[in-house]
Structures are given as structure tokens and as C-alpha cells.
């Protein structure tokens, strides 16, 4: 429940700040940021507030929650959001909740050019770009060394040798990962609805067969870490940062890139359509992407950033853990999520519901 306490303290903090602001000056600016846990560490927020005089109000969230909240208000309520890059264009086309990024106001010199290009390509709509890359990472497998030889790919989670000791999420990355491990390429079928449906049908069958192997479908990071820590689960599909965190506590537990490739995501900065303080949003982007600051975000969240030259400021253990998980070949094998076309998630949702309801 780390996120809950963080949110409460963020709330308390902002209430306190609001009170101070009210009695002090009415001119103090505010930046309302909706982001992931670990992407806005307290010390970074404090330094930003000190340097700019802008109050930062952080709301912790995830992709679906961010989209839901912005959809409910037509893009109001927040000044800056951090959705994954593959979840921007489809959503933008359906709900119109973001406004284009003005790249002239972004200090692109401190960003890795290849990532800026990749994010621009995947967040382009009608010649405008909607995302700036910020933090990236992968999903793969977290395994205990006792089963590391058995579980080397997503579908190995269905191996009888690990029956009852397995956990994964019932969300779209699981569908994608299983499809790759079964020798199909779901990304290539993104724009071919029939082909994609046939892939999903095969994955659905596999996941239903596999259900008896699963201990529980995890729903939150803390829950998964607890399951792995106690040894109740020995193999799981999960994020790399979680695996490295556990590895620091117990060297027996490691994050491995699956044979069929880890799934790579890039979280971006995107500006909600009815943002009330765009200036502050751009200031925040340029502030946190400075190498030293970005490294502090990496140290807090475990995930690496798009900031150029930040690596040398990152904790040595994290760099080592990263290298242990990813050989050069594994890095080249990372499957990066392309933008999700609208309508696809409805199909996936039905598959996930059927898996959940199956016996």
C-alpha cells in the first residue's frame, strides 16, 4: 500500500501548501502532475519547488487510470501526464484529451535523439507530436534460481514443474508476451483485425489451460513483490525494476529477459488538452530530464530514463543488475510496443474477461 500512503502524504502536503499559499501570496503557481510511483521522488519535487517557486501536486496512477481520469474531464484536472507512448494516439483519436507538444520549448539536447525520434513517430497524429520520452523499461520474467532453468520464456509459466507457484497480470502485456512466446507476432497484426483476433483466440486457449498453474493474478506491484519475497510464487511475468529491487534483497531472485524477447515500453510526458499551466509543465520536463536529476529518478524507480548522460550518475548496483539481465543480444531482442489502434483494447478486454471467468 505504498502508493496509498504516498498519495495521502501528497494530499496532506498539498493541503498544507494550499493553506500557506493562501495566507502568503495568491500568485504562487501550481503544477498538477499525474504520474507513476517513483517518477517524482520527494527530493526532486522539493528541489524543483525551491528553484522555480511552483508548487507540485503529484497524483500517482497507471496508464488506464490516467486515461480514465482525463477522459472523465475531457483533459482537465491535470497539467502534465505520463502515459506510455503506445497508449496516446488511439486514445487521442477516441477521446481528444491531449494537446500537441511544442518541441521548441523542450531542451532536446539533453535527451537521447533515437528515443525522441521513436516517441515522435509513435505519437504522431495529423502531423503533430503528442509525447516526449521520459522513462523506459521492460516486462519480462522474475524467477527464483531454483526454477530458472525451467522458466525461460512466458509460456514456461505453464510448465507443470512450477504448478501453483506462478503469477502474472490479467492485462494486455500478458496477451502480447504469450503471443510472442507461441511464435506469433501480435505487433505485426495490429492493423489486421481478423489476424489479431485469431492470435488472441490462440492465446486465450493457452491462458485458460494455464490457469490451473497460476496461484493468483497479481494486480499491484506491492502484492507481487510480497508473493515473490515469501516464496509463495517462484516465477512471474513482471516489470524489470521490481525484479532488480528483489534481487538487491535476495540474490536468488532475478529478472530475466525471456527467449522470445522482453516487452519494451516508454513512458512519456504528454500535456492534457485543458492543462492550466503549460509553462510549468515544460519547466518540469526540462528540469527532470537533466542528467543528475534523471539519475535520481532512476535510483528511486529502478527504471532508466531518456536523459542523455544520466547513466554515470546511477547507482552502481542498478547498472550491474541491468547488465546481468540484458546481454547485447537480449537488448536487440526487446519488442517495443507500437501505438495501439483504437478498438483493439475492446477485443483484448473480452479475451481477458473470458480467461478470468473460465474454470
Amino acid at each position: 500500500m505504498g502508493s496509498r500512503t504516498a498519495r495521502t502524504s501528497a494530499l496532506l502536503g498539498s493541503t498544507f501548501l494550499a493553506a500557506v499559499t493562501f495566507s502568503g501570496s495568491l500568485l504562487a503557481e501550481e503544477l498538477r502532475l499525474i504520474t507513476w510511483g517513483g517518477y517524482a521522488p520527494d527530493d526532486v519535487v522539493a528541489q524543483f519547488e525551491e528553484e522555480t517557486g511552483i508548487d507540485v501536486k503529484v497524483t500517482l496512477s497507471n496508464n488506464e487510470d490516467m486515461i480514465s481520469k482525463l477522459r472523465a474531464t475531457g483533459g482537465a484536472g491535470f497539467d502534465l501526464a505520463q502515459p506510455s507512448q503506445d497508449r496516446i494516439i488511439g486514445v487521442q483519436r477516441q477521446f481528444n484529451i491531449y494537446k500537441p507538444i511544442d518541441f521548441s520549448r523542450i531542451n532536446t539536447d539533453q535527451l537521447q535523439p533515437s528515443m525522441v525520434k521513436a516517441t515522435q513517430d509513435s505519437t504522431e497524429l495529423d502531423g503533430k507530436y503528442y509525447g516526449v520520452p521520459s522513462v523506459w523499461g521492460t516486462s519480462g520474467l522474475i524467477v527464483h534460481s531454483s526454477v530458472a532453468d525451467t522458466v525461460t520464456d512466458y509460456t514456461d509459466l505453464c510448465d507443470p514443474a512450477v504448478a501453483g507457484k506462478v503469477s502474472y497480470r490479467l492485462k494486455r502485456p500478458t496477451l502480447i508476451g504469450f503471443a510472442f512466446a507461441m511464435g506469433m507476432d501480435p505487433f505485426a497484426a495490429y492493423n489486421d483485425r481478423d489476424e489479431y483476433e485469431s492470435i488472441l483466440a490462440k492465446v486465450e486457449g493457452k491462458l485458460i489451460d494455464c490457469k490451473s498453474n497460476v496461484k493468483t493474478y497479481w494486480t499491484g506491484g506491492d502484492q507481487l513483490l510480497a508473493l515473490l519475497r515469501t516464496g509463495e510464487v517462484t516465477a512471474a511475468m513482471a516489470w524489470d525494476a521490481g525484479g532488480w529491487k528483489l534481487n538487491a534483497e535476495n540474490p536468488e531472485i532475478r529478472f530475466v529477459a525471456p527467449d522470445s524477447g522482453a516487452l519494451g515500453w516508454i513512458d512519456t510526458f504528454a500535456i492534457p488538452r485543458r492543462s492550466e499551466n503549460e509553462d510549468a509543465a515544460y519547466k518540469w520536463i526540462n528540469f527532470v530530464m537533466q542528467p543528475e536529476i534523471a539519475a535520481r529518478i532512476t535510483n528511486a524507480s529502478g527504471n532508466f530514463t531518456a536523459s542523455k548522460g544520466a547513466d554515470e550518475f546511477v547507482r552502481a548496483e542498478l547498472r550491474d543488475a541491468y547488465r546481468a539481465s540484458f546481454s547485447d543480444q537480449a537488448i536487440n531482442n526487446i519488442k517495443w510496443y507500437p501505438p495501439v489502434p483504437p478498438g483493439l483494447e475492446t477485443l483484448e478486454g473480452q479475451v481477458l474477461d473470458r480467461v478470468q471467468a473460465a474454470n
Binding site: 486514445v91 483494447e345 475492446t346
Partner: protein, 286 residues
């Protein structure tokens, strides 16, 4: 006071209540009803249809989950009644003075913590590396760790625990008002324990039983955290599906339709329960 002033004060008194009912209950529900008939295509187009309602009946997992939720809620309600009745009987008829207050307090105290905390409490007890499992091993009754979480039994334990207070309170209230002479007369007329219970006590307590059952049933049917956290992979629960549609899939239209169906179908079940037990809502809630 003349009638004009009386009417004004009545309206003033009613205003907060009316505002609450209209703004926080009626308007959102009407909005949800409207959304449930929309067919989603794009943010700037709007079409109407029954697609979402058709989905409920054609996609078997929706109605199967609903039936499962309904049956498990009924069973939970029944179990809660079985457990709560002796407790309520003891508090209302046998305990006196201070003991009575303490017993009531003992039922109440768990509800000072939120549902989330209570559920996590049960998870700590039941999980494979949890307390019960380690006690069983320490006593030599189990060879290895025993997993008691993530199944339907665990879900029902959690739900019964959450519903207990809401069953005990109305039962205590009705049993409290029962005349001791009625029970004695029953025995004098040659009844045994069972007949007295069946012919005297239960009919007297019926309004309390029915109102307790309605509250527990609705709470159970609408609970979200307990089934999701304790049920694990097989925890399909209807409210969970509504949440998923709204939050995970941004499919408000489907979520709204499922929400409307939950409201209609659960009201229907309560109405059916009232008819079968021969009670009226006015008598039960009055």
C-alpha cells in the same frame, strides 16, 4: 406560526436532503442510464443502441459471473444469518447490563478499521506463509505450507465477516422487544425448543431477519475489495467486471450497462425475497 412560514421552513429543512438525493443519487444514475445506451465509436460521434445490453446476454461470461455473484451472495447472507442469530439472541435475551454493552462493542470494534484493513488481516491469517498455515505445521497437522487463500471459501469467510454487524444489529433490536411470556407460553402449550423457535421466535423476529438479510445481501453483492483480494484467479465478481469496464478498458458504455443491470436485477431479487417471506418493505424498514 402561519401556514406560509410553516411551508417555508419545511422546504428549508428538506433542501439538503433533496439536493443530496437529486445531485448525488438521481442525476448520476440517470447519466449512467443514458451512457449505457450509447454506442461508442469516436469522441466526436454519438450513436444510440442496445449493444451493451445485448453483450450481457450473448457473452456468457457476463451473465455467468452475475449468477455466480448472486448465488454466492445469497449463500453468504444465509450463513451470516445462521452465525448472527445465536449471537443476537445472547446479546438481546441473556446478557445483562455491562456485559451486554461490551458484547455489542465487540461486534462493533472491527468496523472501526476499513474494509481494506480487515481484508488484509484475513489475508495475513490465511495465506500460505501465514499464521494458520504455520500453526498447522507447528502442531504437526500438516506436512508443508497450506494455502487457504485464493478460493471461494476464503471469499465467503471474508464476506460473512464483513456482513456480521449488519445482521446482528437489526436482530438484536427486534429480539429485544419480544415478550418473555410469549416464549414461556409456547413451552406451556407443549412446544419443544424447535417448535418454539419456529412458531414463536422466528415469526416475531421476521422483520429483523428480512431487513438484516437485505442489507447484508446488498452489501455482499456490491462489495469489491474482498472478492478481488481474497478470491485470486477465480474471483470473478460482478462489481469487479464493472470496475474493469470503467477503469481498465475505458468502456464506460459497457460498464454503465452492467451497472444498470446490477441495480435492476438486485432490486428484483430483493423484491422476490420480500414476496417469498411475506414481508413488505414498509414493515421491514419501518
Amino acid at each position: 406560526m402561519n401556514s406560509g412560514a410553516a411551508r417555508l421552513s419545511l422546504w428549508l429543512l428538506l433542501t439538503p436532503f433533496l439536493l443530496w438525493i437529486v445531485l448525488l443519487v438521481l442525476v448520476p444514475h440517470l447519466q449512467m442510464l443514458r451512457v449505457s445506451f450509447q454506442v461508442r465509436e469516436s469522441w466526436d460521434t454519438l450513436a444510440w443502441g442496445l449493444e451493451q445490453y445485448q453483450n450481457f446476454f450473448t457473452e456468457s461470461y457476463y451473465w455467468r459471473t452475475f449468477v455466480r455473484t448472486g448465488v454466492m451472495s445469497l449463500f453468504t447472507t444465509f450463513l451470516t444469518l445462521l452465525i448472527a442469530f445465536p449471537v443476537a439472541w445472547y446479546i438481546a435475551r441473556l446478557a445483562r447490563g455491562r456485559a451486554r454493552g461490551l458484547l455489542f462493542l465487540a461486534c462493533l470494534i472491527p468496523f472501526w478499521a476499513s474494509e481494506l484493513v480487515r481484508t488484509y488481516g484475513w489475508m495475513i491469517l490465511l495465506r500460505e506463509s501465514g499464521l494458520f498455515s504455520s500453526w498447522l505445521q507447528a502442531l504437526g497437522w500438516a506436512d508443508g505450507p497450506v494455502e487457504m487463500l485464493y478460493n471461494d471459501v476464503a471469499v465467503i469467510i471474508g464476506l460473512v465477516y464483513n456482513g456480521l454487524l449488519f445482521m446482528v444489529v437489526p436482530l438484536v433490536t427486534t429480539l429485544d422487544g419480544m415478550d418473555e411470556n410469549l416464549v414461556e407460553a409456547g413451552y406451556d402449550l407443549g412446544g419443544n425448543h424447535l417448535t418454539v423457535l419456529r412458531e414463536v421466535v422466528v415469526p416475531w423476529a421476521m422483520p429483523g431477519i428480512v431487513s438484516g438479510c437485505i442489507v447484508v445481501f446488498m452489501l455482499t453483492l456490491g462489495s469489491y475489495l474482498t472478492p478481488i483480494l481474497m478470491g485470486g484467479k477465480d474471483s470473478a465478481w460482478f462489481t469487479g467486471q464493472i470496475f474493469t469496464q470503467f477503469i481498465t478498458r475505458f468502456n464506460w458504455e459497457q460498464g454503465a450497462a452492467l451497472g444498470v443491470l446490477l441495480l435492476v436485477l438486485s432490486s428484483l431479487m430483493v423484491w422476490l425475497g420480500l414476496k417469498l417471506s411475506g414481508q413488505s418493505l414498509r414493515k421491514v424498514m419501518g
